[in-house]
Every structure is written in C-alpha cells, then in structure tokens.
C-alpha cells in the first residue's frame, strides 16, 4: 500500500513538473524597430535592477564601476549589477544568452559587434529624441544607427596610435626608419592579430572591402603592406606576438619603449610607468608609402531587446549618466578615454591628445556583419606570413577566399 502511495505521489510530482514546463514563457519585448517609443513614467518609478556586461579590466573596470556607483547613489530606485566578461568572450556570451531570452540589460563593446547583435534581433531601439544625444559627437551618434534605427550610444572613441615611454624616448621618431633604428635598442611591441595590423595594408593604399563588401585584399596593394609588416617584425628589437596582453606587459614593464595600441591601456600604463613617462602620438609614416591608417571606432553601449519597459527606462537613465560631460570628464582623466561628449575639454590630457592626433590618420570601422567573417581568416593570414608558412600574396588570396565564401560574395 505504501509503495503504491509513493508511486502515486511520484507520478503526480512529475506531472506537475511537466505541466509547469509547458506553461507560457515570460513575455519577450519586441526587438529594435518593432517597439514603441519611450517608456512610460509609471514604469520609471518602480524599483528596478539592471545588469551591464562589459569587457573592461583594471583601470577601465574600476573607473566604470565608480561611475555606476555614483549613478546608483543618485538613483536609489535603480540597482545596477556589473559583470566583467573576458573581452574575447563577451560577444558570443551575449549573443547566445540574449538570443535565448536572457543576457544583460546593457552591453558595451566595439561598434562593429552591433551589426551581428542587430541582425539577430537582440537590440532595443534607442529613442531618437533622447535629450542627452545632442551633447554627443554627432558623427559618433550616427555610428550607432543600423538601417536608420538607433541601437547604440557611443561611450568613447577608440583608435590605435603609438605609445612611447618618455623616460626612454626624448622625441618620437619621425618615420618608420627612425622608429626601427630606435627599437633596436629600446624595443617595439606589436600584437600580431588582424585588428592591430590593418594599418599596414592601408599604408600601401589597399582596402579590405569593395562597395559590395567583398574582400579585395588579394587584388590591391595589401601584399606589399604585409611584406613590410614582416620586415618590421623581423627587425631587431621588435617583438610581434598574437597575445595582446603580453605585448602590453612588455610596454608597461619598460621592456619595450614603443607600442601600437589603443587608449584602453593608458590608465594601466600610467599606473605602472608614471604619468610623466607615458606618451602617445601618431604612428609615423612608412618611407615610400603613407601613414599607417588604423581603425577608428566608437565603443558603444546598447540595450538588450529582452529588457522590460522599466529596465529600458532605467538603462536610458544610466546611459545618460555615463555620457554626461561630468562623467565623461572623469573617464578622460582616470581611464584616458577619448570622450563621446563634445563638451569635455580634452586639452588637459596629453595622452588623449596623441590619440586625437591619430584620428585624421584613421579609417572608420565598417559596421557590417561581413566584418565578422574577417577576424579568423585574417588573423590566420598574419600568422602564416610571419611564420613564413605562406607568402603575403598566397596568405591574402586564401584569406579573401574564405571571407568571401563565408559572406556569400
């Protein structure tokens, strides 16, 4: 009898679980371009918790967390939970989680990642009439649109320039010959991935895509650029390694006096080497070619399409706070961010000044899904060239073939 009772209870429990699993899921808000305008005031009054996923470490993470703490102190109805995700895992984590109905309320990251998020319907529309947008650099705000719909707000501008250690280098080199001569004794650290090394192909007049976003590196002067890059890496005193963090360490420990990198390591470099010893300037021109043009992009903050109305309202208030002139000034001073807010005085920061000098020698980042297919093949091409597995011409032909096949071009 007892056994029968136990069996009956087990069956009922399982039936309950099955019925619960078959119940309706939580409502999913409409993605970008399908929702209505700004959230109602009633929703804004409710206490709400929002989450932000970011890829910051060290100085950037501390500065960002401090700004969020200030926001929560001034907005007691909003709790913000931060989650630092390794930069190279952030995109896939958000894409997978958000597509399954989870993920964070807000996500920060490079501008190019927006295209993939938006294609998968993961981003909420940001109202065009949000008042704080008028304070931001108009071109940067326009960079947050995909298909005319605003889905991202710029937090800062990022461009790769040349760091140098002022305690070792009195005057930055005027061209690459001078740089390589100085590097023989003082050291130059280069990350041998694709992002940092687009500049070689641009210096030799090549372009990544044609108008139809078909890879054309195999048709233009890119091979010449890669051949020069190989020459640079083979030069004495130059270290080329795909591990970005290792190359940063060489500069931060004074083992390399020069480093091609974005402003995101400025705060850490200053804390290691001292404020007076960290300088940034334009990457010098290559004799017989042009200035290496690095990629220029905004770092965007976006709202997840999964966010409820109240969460979207709170997220907008946080974005307004993070892009305000006051907070952007803090980002500039503490983390050396190039501000997105045009009312911030950048003249006080020499490191950021060096990056602003690089901007005219930079190319806008293509915010298209086709770019996603370039990272692995081009990083592979860089390795093949540096390791002498293939010639630059062969490596680029192979890379473009893979990219164009993946993009159906």
């Amino acid at each position: 009898m007892n056994q029968r009772l136990l069996a009956l209870i087990s069956a009922l429990v399982m039936l309950g679980l099955v019925l619960a699993a078959c119940g309706p899921a939580a409502e999913t808000p409409e993605p970008a371009g399908q929702g209505e305008g700004e959230p109602t005031e009633a929703a804004m009054a409710e206490p709400v918790t929002i989450t932000v996923w970011h890829g910051y470490i060290e100085t950037e993470a501390e500065t960002f967390a401090a700004a969020v703490d200030d926001f929560m102190a001034a907005n007691e109805d909003v709790t913000v939970e931060l989650l630092a995700v390794p930069f190279d895992q952030l995109q896939s984590k958000f894409q997978t989680d958000a597509a399954a109905g989870g993920g964070s309320t807000l996500i920060t990251g490079p501008q190019d990642r927006m295209a993939g998020y938006n294609e998968a319907g993961l981003l909420a529309q940001i109202p065009d009439d949000a008042s704080f947008l008028s304070e931001l650099v108009p071109a940067a705000v326009e960079g947050g649109r995909i298909g005319g719909v605003l889905v991202g707000v710029p937090l800062n501008n990022k461009v790769v320039a040349m760091f140098y250690n002022k305690s070792l280098v009195e005057t930055p080199p005027a061209d690459f010959d001078e740089l390589l001569a100085a590097a023989e004794e003082l050291g130059l650290a280069i990350t041998s991935d694709w992002f940092h090394n687009y500049m070689w192909v641009s210096a030799f007049g090549a372009q990544l895509f044609d108008d139809d976003y078909r890879c054309v590196l195999d048709e233009t002067g890119a091979a010449e650029g890669f051949a020069y890059f190989k020459t640079v890496c083979d030069s004495p005193g130059v270290t080329c390694d795909p591990n970005d963090g290792d190359m940063d360490i060489l500069f931060r420990q004074g083992l390399a006096a020069f480093r091609f990198q974005g402003p995101w390591i400025a705060g850490d470099a200053i804390s290691d080497l001292g404020e007076d010893n960290v300088g940034a300037t334009v990457i010098p021109p290559i004799p017989g070619a042009d200035y290496p043009r690095t990629w220029n992009q905004s770092e965007m903050i976006q709202i997840s399409a999964n966010a409820s109305e109240a969460e979207q309202a709170a997220a907008l208030r946080l974005i307004e706070h993070l892009t305000s002139a006051e907070v952007q000034q803090t980002f500039l001073e503490a983390a050396n961010w190039i501000p997105a807010n045009q009312n911030v005085d950048t003249s006080v920061n020499q490191v950021v000044g060096g990056f602003l000098d690089q901007v005219p020698y930079s190319d806008p980042f293509p915010v298209v899904t086709e770019l996603n297919a370039t990272w692995d093949p081009m990083a592979n091409a860089v390795t093949q060239v540096l390791e002498e597995v293939l010639t630059p011409e062969e490596a680029l032909v192979e890379a473009c073939e893979l990219i164009n096949t993946a993009n159906n071009k």
Binding site: S10, A11, Q95, T96, V389, E398, L402, A406
Partner: protein, 330 residues
C-alpha cells in the same frame, strides 16, 4: 468448415505479462525517465533536427530555419570557410592524440601501481596520495597552469631551461614547423602537440594507477608464491600473473580512457587553444568553435553527429578487440 481460432502468440503474452508484473518497477523509473526525456533525449532529437537545417544564431530568436537536407553533412566533410579546416586531418590527429595518450596513461599507471605495490615500501600511502593530485584537480585548472608553464617568455619550463644554461626561448605553443609530418595520412604534429601531450599524460595516468592499484590488491599472494617455487623470474611474474590478473579491471578503464581522451576538450582548449594554425585542434574543440565563434548551429550539429558516429565505431572496434564487455571468467 470449422472456423480457425487464432492461436495466441506465446511471445506477445509473455511480454505483456512481464510488463504487467513489472508495472510498479516501471512506475518507479518513470520520474527518472521523464527527466531524462527532457534533459537528454529532447536535446538529442533537437540536435538531429538542427543538423538538417540552416540553423544559425539569428534563428534562436527571430526566424524559423530552412530544411537543407544533407547539405550540412556535405559541408562538414567537404570543407567549411574557416581557416585551417580539414575534417580528415583533424580526425587523424584526434585518433593519434587519443591512442598515444591512452597508451602512456595505461603504461605509466600500471608501472607506478606495480612499483607502489612492493611490500613494506616506505611512504607508500603518501606517494599514492601525492600521485592522485593531478587527477583530483579540475582539468580546466590544470590546462591553464600548463598553458602558463609553456609560455615562451614567462613560462616556468623556459625559465628553468635558462637557469640550467640551456636554450630557454623555445616556442612550445607557437612553433608552426612540424616535428612529425606524414602528409600521406594527413598527420602533422607540431611542437605544441608534445607540450599538450605531456600536460594530458600528467593529468591522465593517476586514474589508471588507481584502477591498477585496486586490481593489484585483489591478486592472491599464493600465485606469486607458487611462481617463486616454480622458479619464475620477476619479468615472468609480471607478464604471466600480474598483467593477466589486472586485465579485467584495466580493459574497461582503458575503454573509458579512450572515450574521455577522444573528447578531452579542456586540455586542448586551455593549453594550446587548437593552435598553432589549428594543428592541435581535435574534433570536439572544432565543434565548439563552430558554435562559439561562427554561430553555425546547424553545421555544428551535423559535425557533432558525425563525431558521434565515429566515436561509436571506434568504441565498437576497441570493444571487439579488447572483449571488454565479455564475461572474463566465463
């Protein structure tokens, strides 16, 4: 003409009777079956369905994927637009990786277990405890530690070599020139293969040692005494008594070792990341990349179904050769 009465089929009656008699047992396993249905069978069926569609990241939220037949399977075997991809080469590497590892795990495990089985060996229990540490550590942690140890500039291995006055700038994980290259069978083994092999052998032999130790304890002492009387040498005792007696325990352990090593994701992913140039990629890490980096769920499903079939065949072959599931004393 008399009507023919259908004769009851004995088999059906017996099955029905058995089902009825076991109804309470079936009711007891029903909860477990329902849970398994949701967390195991449903995902497997779902994956099989995905393998025949063009399921990509965008389909998780927005659209229904289209049925593409066997296209994904053809692409997996024929070639995908990602660097260094060759299903055949990865499969050959995966098989070599598996059997070299398992051979070393089993050999080392048995040798150490036999050594530690010597009577009155001082500190025997301490050694056994220490040797089990690699197995007790999460393989993720071990993988990351070994990755740091093989680092070209800051790694313990190169720093130690420098201390010893030896060349201490070896590019353990980055050297692309193969140490072994047999193009006829698509086998390319770079230096990083040996680096990750050492890491996985360190990780894997304690398991085999534990199994062998247990099996050694069960060998009756009288057998060795009889062998001694017969004048058997130590080598003969090992080959004629020890190994045959521990075989029933070691064969299933070896089978498990083959399956675990074939799918040893953590060590490959965290030590070499499949590099350089994808030369240490195994099937399971490649399958992961198809989803994590590319978002090709349909292709990845087809890929992993093929991997499942390959592993099933390998298991059947090794099972046949080793007779692992046959009763040993029958």
């Amino acid at each position: 003409m008399a009507a023919v009465t259908p004769t009851p089929q004995p088999g059906k009656i017996e099955v029905g009777k058995a089902l009825w008699e076991g109804r309470l047992a079936y009711l007891y396993i029903l909860p477990a079956f329902l849970i398994m249905a949701f967390i195991t069978f449903y995902p497997i069926v779902y994956q099989v369905w995905m393998a025949f569609t063009n399921f990509e990241l965008r389909h998780l939220r927005l659209q229904n994927p289209e049925f593409v037949g066997f296209e994904n399977f053809v692409r997996v075997l024929g070639g995908l637009p990602i660097p260094n991809y060759s299903f055949g080469r990865i499969l050959v590497f995966n098989i070599v990786w598996t059997f070299v590892n398992v051979f070393l795990h089993v050999t080392l495990g048995i040798l150490v277990a036999v050594a530690l089985n010597i009577k009155n060996l001082p500190g025997k229990r301490l050694y056994r405890s220490l040797f089990i540490i690699p197995w007790a550590l999460p393989s993720l942690v071990s993988g990351m530690v070994w990755n740091n140890m093989w680092h070209e500039r800051f790694g313990a291995v190169n720093l130690l070599l420098q201390e010893l006055g030896l060349p201490g700038n070896i590019r353990w994980l980055q050297e692309t020139q193969p140490v072994i290259n047999i193009p006829q069978i698509g086998l390319v083994l770079p230096l990083s293969f040996f680096a990750v092999l050492i890491a996985n052998v360190w990780l894997g032999w304690p398991f085999m040692m534990s199994i062998a130790t247990g099996a050694l304890q069960s060998i009756p002492e009288e057998l060795y005494e009889a062998a001694l009387v017969d004048g058997a040498s130590g080598w003969q005792k090992l080959w004629r008594i020890t190994l045959p007696m521990i075989r029933p325990a070691m064969v299933p352990a070896t089978m498990i070792g083959i399956m675990m090593t074939f799918n040893q994701f953590n060590v490959i992913y965290f030590v070499t990341g499949g590099g350089p140039l994808g030369l240490t990629q195994i099937l399971v890490t490649q399958g992961f990349n198809l989803v994590n980096q590319q978002g090709w769920y349909g292709v990845a499903s087809a890929f992993n179904l093929i991997v499942f079939l390959i592993l099933a065949v390998i298991t059947l072959i090794t099972n046949r050769i080793s007779r692992a599931t046959e009763p040993y004393y029958a």
